[in-house]
Amino acid sequence: MLLLLLPAAAPADLCGTGSPGLGSSPPVLLLPQPGPEEFGAPGVASARSAAEEAAGPGEAEEDGAEHHHHHGGGFRVVQWEWNYVQTPYIIAIWLLVASVAKILFHFSQRFTTVVPESCMLILLGLVLGGIVLIANKKQLYQLDPALFFLFLLPTIVGDAGYFMPARLFFDNLGAILTYAVVGTLWNAFCTGFCLYAAKLLGIIGHHVQADLMDFLLFGALISAVDPVAVLAVFEEVHVNETLFIIVFGESLLNDAVTVVLYKVYISFVEVGGANVLTADYFKGVASFLIVSIGGTLVGLVFAVILGFVTRFTKKVRIIEPLFVFLLVYLAYLTAELFSLSAILSMTFCGIGANKYVEANISQKSRTTIKYTMKNLASIAETIIFIFLGISAVDKSKWAWDTGLVSCTLVFIFVFRAMGVVGQTWVLNRFRLVPLDKIDQVVMSYGGLRGAVAFALVVLLDGEQVKAKDYFVATTIVVVFFTVMFQGLTIKPLVKWLKVPRATNRKPTINEEIHERAFDHILTAVEDIAGLQGYHHWRDKWEQFDRNYLSKLLLRKSVYRKSELWEAYQKINIRDAISVIDQVGPSKKSIYLSIYISKKNFHLTLFATVLLVCSRRENGSGVCLDLQVIDNVPGSKVVEDMETHHVLAGNLYKPRKRSHYSRHFMPLGEKERQDREVFQRNMRIRMETYKSSRHKRHKKERSMKKVRQIHMSVVTKKNFQAALDVCQSPSAAPSSPPTEDSHLPWKGGVGLPPPCVSVEATKIIPVDLQQAWNQSISSLESVSSPPASTEPVHPRVSALSRLGGPRPASYTAPSTTVSSTTSIGAPAPQSSFCFPEKKKKKMQEEEEEEEEPGASQEMQPLMLPVRPPGLLPPPSPPLPPPGPGRRRNPCVYLRSLVAAPPPASGDLHSRRPTQL
């Protein structure tokens, strides 16, 4: 029962946040008025009913009775079924409020960079709580511990655990555990004892009826760093990963300590401090071990189950995310069931399962999980902070004692700092990379307390703990102080201290390779030096994982995949996506943009991105090469035709009747096309190019595996289609062979069997690319002086020519390009900056270019019937390459200026011979 839901908040906020302040009072003022217009403004009515429902048993009954009188007699067309929908309705409204609140916060960019969202949410909660208090003269709800622990916290912890950077976490596990266990114990005891001392000294008022045990209990619950608060604040601060993982890991792993201390003290308080036996202390220690290790084990067991289950979801991809959510959540609940540390359980379930699950499930499921988890966590966080704010307004639960509050604030801060410094001093003797003073400052300052402490203090039994109200008030102040004040100031502090920030950078392939090599090196050196250190054991674990765990938990198809290869592919995909993002959805533009966006264009980037000319992944580079250096206009025409051919024939299928299925996600038209091309590209790379028409069936079989890895649900039919395409177009049933023969790189190899085109792409690029690069660099070095009027980037000119096969519509790009000449100079990063102007220009040209294509897109060119107008003159035999034919004066000029370097000359000479 979600009684905590605040009745008036929904409508009040909907107007209230829009016009903060008094604008929201009218609807609220309506609340106390009796007068339920049944079909009145739904928001007000719902809020009213919610108020009635929740206004305490007596009142609710009264109102309810009154309510029912109105319903008396007869059939009515519309009925007011509030009771029926109440709970889900209020939940939905709450989520809506929270989400709208977030949107509103982020309207002001400058504001949100200064003020953390958590602060804003708490303030919003305070406002809402205040409104309700004014309206109702009574605070109705606060953060309900059951709701918090059963629903809100797990969503956040689940997200944190599942997406925990495992390597980083385990690299720093020693430090994390130390801070979590020793640090929390230290904080708890010191705070407890010192508060007791303060009480004895009379600093804390006499009306606070608490003895040592009460203070220790309070110390235990107030000392734990809170994962929700830490996440909320640190995610906006972006400190470096090590610092973050230590603080955040601590906040997660200290759960066991907090749970045990809390329970132990509660039982001590119940029996009374005097009656505690020595054995009870030992029981406490034993309990700690059981709670922490047991929780971890439960989590790991569920991680294994989860990994194992996802092994078999191949046929039911759609429920993959569900399994993840369910099992991770079950890990949490199971741990709660046995009163083990639920947070530990969930965290380790997430960390443990992540690797296997991610490998097993489809890309779509991965995305789904990611977004759903983030979504839920974000919502939960929002609700938690809003409720913290609302709860704070409730004066009835409070009892203020300045001494207690100020002492607690001082103590937790001081002891946190002392604990961190002390432990770091010890830890630094063992750490490879010591934590320096700045790190320690941030760690001390980042010890935020939050909703966990609040929920625990609310859970206290007022009968047993006489000073509960004081503790509640103090906890609220502490939470507010840490989240609001420290959360607000930590960003400037981090800036001021120049704490190394996290870079949002993804590792490059070099880093991936070398870091793996480093791991091996370190392991080997440890073995040689006879040290059984961290790397030794990590290596042992990896072997165990490889030999047993992965065999058990991974699909056969992914089991043999190398991690490095996976990482490499991820990088490729990421690059591809970024290219696509940069340029927009137009396929043509993607095709074009590759040339500008990458200086050393990567073969494999092509392999991944090339949405248009997938089959020619490397060939396109060659083609470009030809144009830059030799400028063969004929090839341009042919290529363009070819592009259209591929586009129309392969990408655009006749529209199928889309049918609804609950079990399979129908792919969108565009999506499917992209997918196909993507798969095709990956396949091409992964296959060893042995494939030919004759081996087609074999290939098909082997490709099935490939298909699983990449991308989701392509129906058999699509796959077959994609496969067809993946062979050369001449392998496709009715594609005219003439075209292929005109393509320079194909014609070069000769007309023979269709398989050649595939072979050709393999043969040519490896050596030509090299040559191409060399020629590019030499061209650039020649034309680098900024005074030069010609485009420095050969790709640019090539591009513009690619864009304009028809001389009429073609505008020489020299004007736009020349402005960028200076950036185009050999500086390596220059090619990545991508002037708006140029890009626009490019896109314009592309659009122009696409128009004729558009009409034919729906008409597969593979069909024998072709709109005649679409075919460029079908058989212009490739004209001999000659400089006189170039259309682009700039390139022409350049090629004159830049004497073709040996490599390009080489190329030049090779081409014609092949032709």
């Binding site: 063992f430 490879l432 990379v433 010591p434 320096d436 870079t503 950078r505 490059t508 392939i509 070099n510 880093e511 390779i513 070398h514 870091e515 793996r516 090599a517 480093f518 091996h520 090196i521 370190l522 392991t523 080997a524 050196v525 440890e526 073995d527 040689i528 030096a529 006879g530 040290l531 250190g533 961290y534 790397h535 030794h536 290596d539 072997q543 043999r560 995949k561 190398s562 490095l564 290869w565 490499y568 490729n572 050393n600 990567h602 073969l603 494999t604 980037l605 392999a607 790379r685 992964m686 296959e687 060893t688 190019y689 490896v766 090299q770 690069n773 060399q774 660099s777 390596p828």
Partner: protein, 194 residues
Amino acid sequence: MGSSSSNLNTIPNSQELMQETGFSAAHLLRLYERFEFLDKDNKGHLRPEDFEAVQELSTNPIGDIIIGSFFSPGQETVDFPSFVRILAHFRPAEKNRTRDGAQPEPANSSTGKLKFAFQLYDRDRDGKISREELLQVLRAMLEMQVTEEQLESMAERAIQEADLDEDDAISFDEFKKSLEKVNIDHKMSIHFMK
């Protein structure tokens, strides 16, 4: 420390070694014990076979390459000082070491560590990691998990990415640059126990 200092005398040039490598007496002693353990027939130097006798190294995919790096080119043996000097690369860097410019870069600086890693790749020691050399390491690391074609594309891409002067190979500077964002001190250090 009485016993260790007496033992320290058995190590030739121990003082100089400690000075040079920065290992403490205890470390050095421990390494000496290890050295003697590996040196089965008390030759006073190690041969590749002695390294290969280490059980765990056989499972290390690039174990051979690493063993090779202990031997300077053309040499079949490694004596204790060289052994220690190589291991010194993996000592964690001191945070606040005082360095005067005249002093050579210590082995455990991040440049020193990188140099060591670099020459693992650079088998022919020509100062460049060629495509072939990179492929060799990749092939060893990935074992049979990927096809040659995939390896090549990876090597290709790695070289493309790191190669700034476009000579189709990775020089040490390029190597260093490609790893400049990586915390080398962290990734290439071992905690030497007492």
